[in-house]
């Protein structure tokens, strides 16, 4: 499976040993441009099967754009993406979902008027077989049996994420933390091999973050899903990820184990804002306009 297609794009040599374990996802020389804006420039990386992979970087660095390229919302202007050895660059998101890519969104994207249960059941879409002909004949075509079997599995996800108390509530009425959890549940219901989490802990308090981190680790270790996570909380990222990729202005500046990445001076300068050399503060100071125009 791994590396079956020959790279059509030469791309930079993979400096990380992505082929060490089986590679589940690979990006080769991905470029993404919106008009004149270069959201991503020549980004190449591989995600190993069973890995917990984090993408970090300052705001606007292109992290979500990268995840959108993986899930299929954006199509790279240039470069290719491979999932399980297949070139999925031109594939629509719904097709990729059936192949085994699930995701959550940075801004909540639940189906607001549906119940929590229905939201999660939507995640089973590609696993269910009943359709617009067999569904209406509920009792006669086995649709009922199938729905109930999937309901049972959805209930297990509900148990895992501890959202039993809201299963019949309308998703749009839930609190922020719960909605994030329901969204995660919906993505898990897809039974993906690769799950993309876009800022799963944004806006949560410490306790909720701890819970979420535990769920993510469980997903990775017990459910065996490969996890790609965008997260700003460096504590969580450093604690739970196996490998980290750092983006800055659409370019990959580092990739590796958390402690390696953290030690990288470019990363510290770009993202963590520590250990600035003396020229760094001096440079912007010259550009700052005089304060007189402030009323």
């Amino acid at each position: 499976m791994s590396g079956a297609p020959v790279a059509p794009h030469p791309g930079p040599a993979q400096n990380s040993p992505a082929t060490q374990a089986e590679t589940i996802f690979e990006a080769r020389g991905v470029n993404l441009r919106f008009g004149g804006v270069h959201a991503l420039t020549d980004v190449s990386f591989g995600i190993r099967k069973g890995e917990l992979f984090s993408i970090i970087g300052p705001n606007g660095a292109g992290k979500t754009s990268m995840v959108n390229c993986i899930s299929g919302r954006y199509r790279p202007t240039d470069g290719r993406v491979y999932f399980k050895g297949r070139d999925v660059t031109g594939m629509t998101p719904n097709h990729r979902a059936a192949l085994g890519i699930g995701r959550t969104f940075q801004n909540l994207a639940l189906f607001g008027h549906m119940t929590v249960l229905d939201n999660i059941m939507v995640g089973r879409h590609h696993l269910l077989k009943n359709n617009f002909l067999t569904g209406p004949l509920y009792w006669l075509t086995g649709a009922r049996k199938e729905e109930l079997a999937h309901r049972r599995e959805v209930e297990e996800i509900i148990d895992f994420l501890e959202i039993q108390h809201v299963r019949k509530a309308t998703a749009g009425t839930l609190s922020y933390g719960l909605r994030k959890r329901v969204e995660l549940a919906r993505a898990i219901a897809l039974k993906p091999d690769l799950i993309l989490l876009d800022e799963p802990m944004a806006g949560m308090n410490l306790e909720e973050k701890e819970d979420m981190a535990r769920y993510i680790v469980d997903l990775n270790e017990e459910f065996g899903m490969t996890v790609v996570m965008i997260e700003h909380d460096m504590g969580v990222v450093m604690d739970i990820s196996h490998r980290v990729m750092v983006l800055e202005f659409g370019k990959k500046i580092a990739e590796g184990r958390p402690e390696e990445v953290l030690a990288d001076p470019r990363v510290r300068r770009a993202y963590l804002g520590e250990d600035d050399d003396e020229e760094a503060p001096a440079a912007p100071a010259a550009v700052v306009p005089p304060r007189k125009e402030v009323a």
């Binding site: 607001g112 269910l128 509920y138």
Partner: protein
């Protein structure tokens, strides 16, 4: 917001099957069955006029359910629904007249033919949204209306066409009393099918497309397919409703299927409640019965002091039309979520009475 449905305490569900029934409680199910039984008895004690109103509610309700699946559940818009309704009516008459298909078979077949037409007009729907889609469906309305007027072979042109009454095993359903049962059975079946659709995979997919199409796509839902399909399903219901209408009146004429009729369909589902199956029926009943109610009201007013003081005379008919409009506007202002929502609130109120907190 009374969002959570209120279940009496002690009513525990012990299997997933009992938790996924159409009616949330036994009482509500029994009431629905009782309602249908009452309707079955209707021809015995209602006069022909009232029966004709109920029959109207039946076939319009079926067509309106189709529109609600499209507009309320999938979040598309259509202002050409009456054209599909008309197509169903003509198609059924045509099948009977030109192909000598038995009427009982022609009605579902007309539904299938209308589905085909709906799918054709649904193709742009996959690419258009909101107002643009509204304009595209407006085009559908006028194209089909024009087709009805010109296609003599299909519709009999401006002269219209005869539709035979439904006959089953030599028994002709040619009176209101008899046809009432046909419409009732069709309505119950179509509503059950609709309810089942909405609680299974494809129904959920339609709602997902409405609520958040981007994440629906991420969940593996093919947007193009479901948007087009929604038009197909909606046209199917319209076709069945139209066919029932044709064999009820036994004559189909071109003039009936205007844009005004389409807007009336929209009125039914908006008043009943977008995205509510029960509400569709309530809205249809409301739209059919409101003119009757207003007629009665104007009758009360005519000849009284108000009439003479305002010198209304024949203007009272206009007053009736205006008050229908007024009621609809007031309704939308005070109950934008539709009758279904109000009904839920009333139920919640009585369940909790007198301890509502």
């Amino acid at each position: 917001m009374a969002n959570v449905s209120i279940i009496p305490s002690g009513d525990f569900k012990t299997s997933y099957a009992s938790d996924t029934t159409i009616f949330p409680t036994k009482t509500s199910r029994n009431f629905a069955i009782l309602g249908v039984l009452l309707l079955l008895a209707c021809p015995a004690f209602l006069d022909r006029y009232w029966l004709s109103l109920l029959i109207q509610i039946g076939y319009l309700g079926i067509a309106a359910l189709g529109l609600n699946i499209l507009v309320g559940f999938t979040g598309q818009i259509s202002i050409g629904h009456s054209a599909f309704f008309g197509f169903g009516a003509f198609a059924s008459a045509w099948l009977v007249n030109s192909w000598s298909v038995p009427v009982a078979l022609a009605i579902p077949l007309a539904g299938v033919l209308t589905t085909g037409v709906g799918l054709i007009f649904g193709v742009p729907a996959a690419r258009l949204k909101g107002l643009y889609l509204a304009i595209a469906t407006l085009a559908a309305q006028y194209i089909l209306q024009d087709f009805f007027a010109r296609a003599d072979w299909f519709t009999g042109g401006t002269a219209g066409t005869i539709a035979e009454p439904l006959t089953l095993f030599g028994f002709a359903f040619d009176t209101d009393e008899r046809y009432f049962y046909v419409v009732l059975v069709a309505m119950v079946v179509m509503y059950i099918l609709g309810t089942n659709l909405m609680r299974t995979r494809d129904g959920r997919a339609l709602v997902a497309v409405r609520d958040h199409y981007l994440s629906a796509e991420i969940m593996g839902i093919n947007l193009t397919k479901y948007r087009t399909m929604s038009f197909g399903i909606s046209a199917f219901y319209a076709g069945i409703g139209g066919a029932l209408y044709a064999h009820y009146l036994q004559f189909v004429s071109v003039e009936n299927f205007t844009i005004l009729f389409s807007i009336q369909f929209l009125g039914m589902i908006i008043i009943g409640g977008l995205g509510s199956i029960m509400g569709t029926l309530m809205g249809t009943a409301f739209m059919v019965l409101l003119p009757e109610l207003m007629q009665a009201a104007t009758k009360l007013v005519s000849g009284t002091a108000i009439d003479t003081a305002l010198n209304l005379r024949e203007n009272i008919a206009f007053l009736r039309e205006m008050s229908i409009g007024l009621v609809i506007i007031l309704f939308l202002v005070f109950e934008p979520d539709g009758l279904a929502h109000r009904w839920k609130q009333i139920k919640a109120y009585w369940k909790l009475y007198p301890f509502s907190h």
